[in-house]
Symmetry: D3
Amino acid sequence: MKEYKSLEIIQKSPNSRVYYLYLNRPGHLNALSRDFFTEFPQAISSLDQNPDVAVIVLAGSGKHFCSGIDLQTLADGFKETYDADCGRNVEKLRRHIKFLQEAITALECCRKPVIAAVHGACIGGAIDIITACDIRFCSSDAFFSVKEVDLAITADLGTLQRLPSIVGFGNAMELALTGRRFMASEAKDLGLVSKVFTSKQALEEGVKLVAEDIATKSPLAVIGTKAVLLKSRDLTVEQGLEYVATLNSGILLSNDLKEAISAHSQKRKPKFAKL
Amino acid sequence: MKEYKSLEIIQKSPNSRVYYLYLNRPGHLNALSRDFFTEFPQAISSLDQNPDVAVIVLAGSGKHFCSGIDLQTLADGFKETYDADCGRNVEKLRRHIKFLQEAITALECCRKPVIAAVHGACIGGAIDIITACDIRFCSSDAFFSVKEVDLAITADLGTLQRLPSIVGFGNAMELALTGRRFMASEAKDLGLVSKVFTSKQALEEGVKLVAEDIATKSPLAVIGTKAVLLKSRDLTVEQGLEYVATLNSGILLSNDLKEAISAHSQKRKPKFAKL
Amino acid sequence: MKEYKSLEIIQKSPNSRVYYLYLNRPGHLNALSRDFFTEFPQAISSLDQNPDVAVIVLAGSGKHFCSGIDLQTLADGFKETYDADCGRNVEKLRRHIKFLQEAITALECCRKPVIAAVHGACIGGAIDIITACDIRFCSSDAFFSVKEVDLAITADLGTLQRLPSIVGFGNAMELALTGRRFMASEAKDLGLVSKVFTSKQALEEGVKLVAEDIATKSPLAVIGTKAVLLKSRDLTVEQGLEYVATLNSGILLSNDLKEAISAHSQKRKPKFAKL
Amino acid sequence: MKEYKSLEIIQKSPNSRVYYLYLNRPGHLNALSRDFFTEFPQAISSLDQNPDVAVIVLAGSGKHFCSGIDLQTLADGFKETYDADCGRNVEKLRRHIKFLQEAITALECCRKPVIAAVHGACIGGAIDIITACDIRFCSSDAFFSVKEVDLAITADLGTLQRLPSIVGFGNAMELALTGRRFMASEAKDLGLVSKVFTSKQALEEGVKLVAEDIATKSPLAVIGTKAVLLKSRDLTVEQGLEYVATLNSGILLSNDLKEAISAHSQKRKPKFAKL
Amino acid sequence: MKEYKSLEIIQKSPNSRVYYLYLNRPGHLNALSRDFFTEFPQAISSLDQNPDVAVIVLAGSGKHFCSGIDLQTLADGFKETYDADCGRNVEKLRRHIKFLQEAITALECCRKPVIAAVHGACIGGAIDIITACDIRFCSSDAFFSVKEVDLAITADLGTLQRLPSIVGFGNAMELALTGRRFMASEAKDLGLVSKVFTSKQALEEGVKLVAEDIATKSPLAVIGTKAVLLKSRDLTVEQGLEYVATLNSGILLSNDLKEAISAHSQKRKPKFAKL
Amino acid sequence: MKEYKSLEIIQKSPNSRVYYLYLNRPGHLNALSRDFFTEFPQAISSLDQNPDVAVIVLAGSGKHFCSGIDLQTLADGFKETYDADCGRNVEKLRRHIKFLQEAITALECCRKPVIAAVHGACIGGAIDIITACDIRFCSSDAFFSVKEVDLAITADLGTLQRLPSIVGFGNAMELALTGRRFMASEAKDLGLVSKVFTSKQALEEGVKLVAEDIATKSPLAVIGTKAVLLKSRDLTVEQGLEYVATLNSGILLSNDLKEAISAHSQKRKPKFAKL
């Protein structure tokens, strides 16, 4: 498997279809570097293409999930951009921001579900990342902050687009304008995470259980469910119904459905081919 | 009143404007049969047209609200469709799914409010049904599951379109990908139900109170409120404001408003004509 | 500062950039009068234009936040409109409703954040107002009701458009159809308010802390965050990302960012110019 | 075949898959009556369900295509509605207009293409009808008018929604505000009709050629093309691309494609099964 | 009537409901000055509120319709803005552009139809203006250019939003990227103007005829038609149908409809009250 | 410059900023092969990144522009896909279609304008390509056909999404359902091409003139114009205005604007830096 500077991919047990993707600069609290923005979409895409992979778990190496954008990287970019014609400057920066955004959006382009497992700090750009994941869990030591406003930045990597539909518009506005820190239990109350585990170890075990369970389900139904939820988010209800009817008319009548019905009537666990 | 195979309509007290619509195949846990998909929109439409009806309560006969799509029905459809040309097959199935969807969407086409009263199982297709209702209550024994993924199916009757705006996008994704069972109190925390009652009997009494209360309100204001909320869901805020201004400019200056203001100043209960 | 009949603007401490806007007809429970709908957008706009203002707190004078539309005003309008040609009547009323709506929407047109501080009654039209604010806090004595339905009115000043994205679609429907009263703690659970304070005094102190804190942040980042959240609400995620990339490419490279990074590395509080 | 009061369905030659639907009240210039609005969607739906039908041609019996809404019908409805409570009145009328609209929209719900063949008058409601058809041809004696404004009516059966995308927004506004009559050749220049034939007979022959030609094409591709164009009209380009990719992934690999490729390589006409 | 520096309002004959609004800086080819952007929305709004006005004709004094934004004004704004913090600069400019845009959008906010009568030059900002008008006529000497690109400007006052739906997307792109001049007859072919008159005098007479004719129609139907076309432009077809059904259910049953039907049966010209 | 199998990039004169991209399989009528779909987005992207390139001209080598999808390629894909599980099959095909679509959409992702220069055949997939270009010219020998329907295919590479806004919805439907051939002059009347040249040589010269002219304009204004037109296509008018105001506030105050104003006042041609 390819080597990454900012990431690590691990298949924890040989036959498992669950792959772990680690933010892997623990010495820098997994702060998001230039490398990250290049490597992350590559890693996600390679896992999406790999038929051995059914579910991806995204986690952080070391003491924290991720402390957000690397400030040095930010400051460097700042200097570099600042000497040209103002208009060209802006155009260049706009392209750069879109490049950064695409690294995060790769999580939604990935057909397979991505589960974020958060412990410790989950700050700024890390919120952009987890709001683009499909399921979020955390340990009780996790803490969160939509921190950008405190760096004089309007968050531009997705938080302001994706957080409102997850925690409600009012909560998203309050968190983004205050930048205040909030803890695991509030994250649960807000709907940002689906469950809080009592420790990092409990988190790892719990996430493993959920991920392995999803990995046993029909891959067609799993990627269909993710795709339909994501596409319907930006459609009217009627358009979303038309979309899922169209999608399902093509993929519903698969071996997976036969196997599921047969297993159900035989009261056994179904087994599905890879995708 | 018309006889249905899969449903029963009951007016529980003679002068009440609250009508009860029962999923009525208790021997099959009210599983959704072919009959259901034909009869349900007819029943809803007849209640909508009936001026004696102000509010509809949707409930399940027997021990459970509804266990979802009837598997036998599903398997039958599966066989029947599977021998023609692949493309025509898909086209036929697409029309079939849209036919099924329309049965559920009938709940939103109905001008009058529909209150779901859930006890026992509320699984798979039953979630599609209740997310298209206007208010949801349950008893403490109720349990829920977006179960389709476990049958190798991408849910296609509305859950993936309507659940996210009710419980938040993150919660909807987690429930739909895991298919896990959740209980009444979690349904309340998620915003899926508005209240949990301690028993089936308490549910029935509580729902009756709310339904009878809404039935005493101005029918114009009640159907206006439902219509505006549903239409605004798929519009920008500005378009939604334009829509409600346009609607209200026509229906606001009614006898109902006169009666409401007059009753208010006379400190008595207002009385409104049927619609 | 301009005098208003229905409002009062107060700068509580001389150098503070937090301005308080009071609904100021305590003898009428701050019910919304004709004057209000003319004066409110003027007041909001003047605060938005004033470079000394960074944050606006909206509160009510006297015992309650606001009891909603003034019924006398409503009844007057009712009489006045009722003698012309029916079609022209409707057209006139439609323009009138849009005029009223614009007074509330002024809160979203205001670039600077508006924090609602609610105590006592927050009824009917008051819900329209607070759902257009950016952050909502209340004291424990606050109570709320989407009351319009009980006056035979389909709420038409924004509640039905803005409440669903704040509290979820199901909760919004239930509150709007029942018109039931709900208390501070439920408002918190629903996400309608971000925090409940134990008393009116605690509310005032708490709001002051939050407001003064936001007032110390980069004004560019604060108004950018508000603008992007509001605009993205009505865009697809992809369109919202494009929008924020475009906005940030122009305003990111400001003195505020330099100051924020420099203050961060020097471990001091940053200081930002007015806007 | 079912008998209609306002319509006639004709299969002009025994083996043809082209069916003709005639507006058939020539004594009233085929003015749209109450019967029409009930019968038209029934007729369209029966043709859509009928596997012998591949293409529908819509034409008018007698000297004109259609003179629009029957004024007597309109005046009757006017009297009848005018004595109840004003608000209920409006609500009743709103339902009635939606009922009328659905009769026209049936043309778009029909999966199979509908070709309008227009001669003589095509006025008011007739424009609503032809803008919901898929292809429009006329003879040189045809004349058109978006006439509603001259009856003090805002056109409400679809012209104001569908005409702009056919003739351009500016042209649609001018035609709708002036209500002026325009002739066949201008209709062609505007894009309202695809071709003008020199006489009614030439029109009939020309339409027959086009309709029979489409009837020889793959039914899957024909209904797919109509569906995708209609659905994409209300989607972003990206959403439309996603939709057609999803649709085609299910229906592309059909016997029709095999037959088309095989016929192409054998340089013969392909033959497709009915749908 | 109010005096304007950049505009003149003329009622050409005493009883006419057609009012003429002149761009009135003929010495500067009616170039759009700072005054214009303040006065134009005021003038439009006053005409909209004035019940004596049924139709507005927009024309240019002197030899040309309008040569676009005043370059001196542009250059002034350029200097003035260029010394502050870059980010604040951009924010200020963004507000300024939105202020300019609102002046043009006033044409669409005006309920009554606005007819542009173009002679001579119609360049740059003038295209922004006429694309926001409802009907466009010109004399044969008129010439047009989407000129902004030649001043290193991305047109930002509405041309890029409104022109495509008037002339087609491809034509709009070509005209905006090349900035080439095109003549009256091409403007007619493109659908940008509805008719070309042989001379300025013929234009004046022709526009007068059309405007006076519209002024005799039902004001409710006229403003309804404009409103529905504009609102439907940004809605799906189904949403547009819902909107017009809702609007018409309120305004259809007016004295205007009675008068129109009665006049029709008595074969006389109808007469409608002012609005 | 990179070598391509299906394409050729030519800079025709040393200092020109106009680059020519040729579909370069003249022996196969430039039919779109597997190679094409991989190479085309690469070529477009490399030209977009290259600061020496201001304008791209897309043309065909040999006697024709392009005859559409290579049938052999299509048939191969057909065989290969047809033996797996039906549902997986569909999923695989869906990904494949999206991959093909992205190759075409690359034309819109490219910031710089792309001019299609069409001669001879422009069939099927070639229509998908040119509708995604920004400007289209052709020679008088050009002929066009939305041919997919005759191969039993619903066009799925963009024609059904992009053609309606270019030629009108009615024309697009007629062309797509009939698949009929149409000639250069009709393409001009429909708005599909902006100009018809009398010969291939005249086309080359004419395109060169237009392309070189655009290449002398401000690159910021040119890419801004393209971006705003494309983005606004999928936004409401109001959202489009907000977008262009935001974009322009960042890029307007550039050296390009200074140079344009200065050149204008000095009556000389402006000169702009590369982008």
